[in-house]
């Protein structure tokens, strides 16, 4: 999901940086004092999660955890993912500094969308709704990131449908895995630290 340097056109890079700046401002404004450790912990989790790789056909994919981060952090996902992606670019050469804004938006925005769509389901007393909400959030955020990656490539003059198809097909196993991981993580958090889900 990390788009490399030199792939996207300048307008897409600038647009991504602008949207990222907006998201960052909202995210920073919404972080309360008591949320700081939570943001730091999930930033570290995202930083390391991309090293968990799933070999797959002609390529391979990695865990993203943007759904889980979005559900727990809401808008604070923007600063968390920006910092994590920055250090991934510096230490691992994943993505790059010029594409930092686009990569942050591609991963944080779907997380925020699933936060608004699924947090209601997670607050429900119904166990089935909790599981469904967690799975949709985990899988949906990966799918959303895939669509945004394809859109970024399309806006840089690559064919949208083929790019979207390639990205989404490659990430179907990750969607399922992330859905399951999100369900387990959210169930665990609800039991031991339910206040973590209040952002």
């Amino acid at each position: 999901m990390h788009i490399s340097e030199g792939v996207l056109s300048v307008p897409v890079l600038i647009g991504g940086a602008a949207v990222c700046t907006g998201g960052l401002a909202i995210g920073l404004k919404k972080i309360r004092h008591e949320d700081v450790p939570k943001v730091g912990m999930l930033t570290a989790a995202f930083f390391v999660a991309s090293l968990v790789h799933v070999p797959l056909g002609p390529s391979s994919v990695h865990l993203i955890l943007n759904g889980l981060i979005g559900l727990i952090l809401g808008w604070a996902a923007f600063p968390a993912l920006l910092v994590a992606l920055f250090f991934q670019a510096i230490f691992f050469q994943f993505g790059g500094l010029t594409v930092l804004g686009v990569n942050t938006v591609n991963m944080a925005l779907p997380g925020i969308i699933v936060y608004y769509l699924c947090s209601g389901m997670l607050r429900s007393e119904s166990h089935l709704l909790n599981i469904t909400g967690g799975f949709i959030a985990g899988a949906g955020a990966v799918a959303g990131a895939g669509v945004l990656v394809a859109l970024s490539l399309y806006l840089s003059r690559q064919a949208f449908l083929s790019a979207a198809k390639a990205v989404l097909i490659a990430h179907i196993p990750v969607m399922i895995i992330e859905g399951i991981i999100t369900v387990i993580a959210i169930s665990f958090v609800r039991k031991v630290r339910p206040e973590l889900l209040e952002m």
Binding site: M1, I3, G6, G40, P55, F91
Partner: protein
């Protein structure tokens, strides 16, 4: 959750973790390419880090000095590419910038210095194509060519390994370093928040 279900969960998690963390797979966030010169050709290998070869993608060769695109070729299913050194590069002494474009916006570059193919042009396939040298009529030039060919054959695996060694890999220090920085940033945020509260 009763004890037997807990045990099953732990076993499933352990198996999944062992599978995903295994070094056998690739990870789809950084592509590495490395190239070496063999006679009149440049050979390249592209692979995801850490893990498998790029099985679908293209390689574009540019002049490092002028930025002019000299040729484009495909990557085979083993992640390998071979191309003849462009005449223009030999004539003008240009370094070659070899850019690998893999699927989903991944890419990376490698520079082949002009010195490498200038010093290697007598070795390798070009000379081998001339067939066995006559034993009796062996001039000093022919001897030189024969030694170049033999040396080139023997040095090829070393050149490949040397090129591969130049590729930067993710180390444990990188991971710890990134986590340390994230922890540090969280600490700095706390420091400033504490200052605000004191005021």
């Amino acid at each position: 959750m009763n004890a037997s279900r807990k045990k099953i969960c732990v076993v499933i998690f352990s198996v999944l973790a062992a599978y995903f963390w295994s070094p056998a797979g690739g990870s789809c966030h950084r592509v590495n390419i490395f190239c070496w010169v063999e006679g009149n050709q440049v050979k390249c290998e592209s692979r995801f880090t850490p893990g498998g070869p790029v099985k679908s993608g293209s390689v574009e060769v540019y002049s490092q000095q002028t930025g002019e695109r000299l040729l484009t070729t495909r990557i085979d299913k083993n992640g390998r590419t071979v191309f003849d050194i462009p005449e223009a590069a030999k004539k003008h002494g240009w370094d070659l910038k070899v850019h690998c474009s893999a699927e989903m916006g991944h890419g990376n570059s490698w520079v082949v210095k002009a010195d490498e193919f200038a010093s290697d042009e007598n070795g390798g396939f070009t000379v081998r194509a001339q067939g066995p040298l006559p034993e009796k009529a062996m001039s000093s030039g022919a001897l030189e060519k024969m030694f170049s060919r033999v040396l080139s054959d023997q040095l090829t695996p070393i050149k490949r390994d040397l090129a591969e060694l130049k590729v930067r890999r993710i180390s444990f220090q990188d991971i710890l370093g990134g986590l340390g920085y994230i922890l540090g940033i969280t600490g700095i945020v706390f420091y400033f928040l504490a200052g605000k509260e004191r005021d």
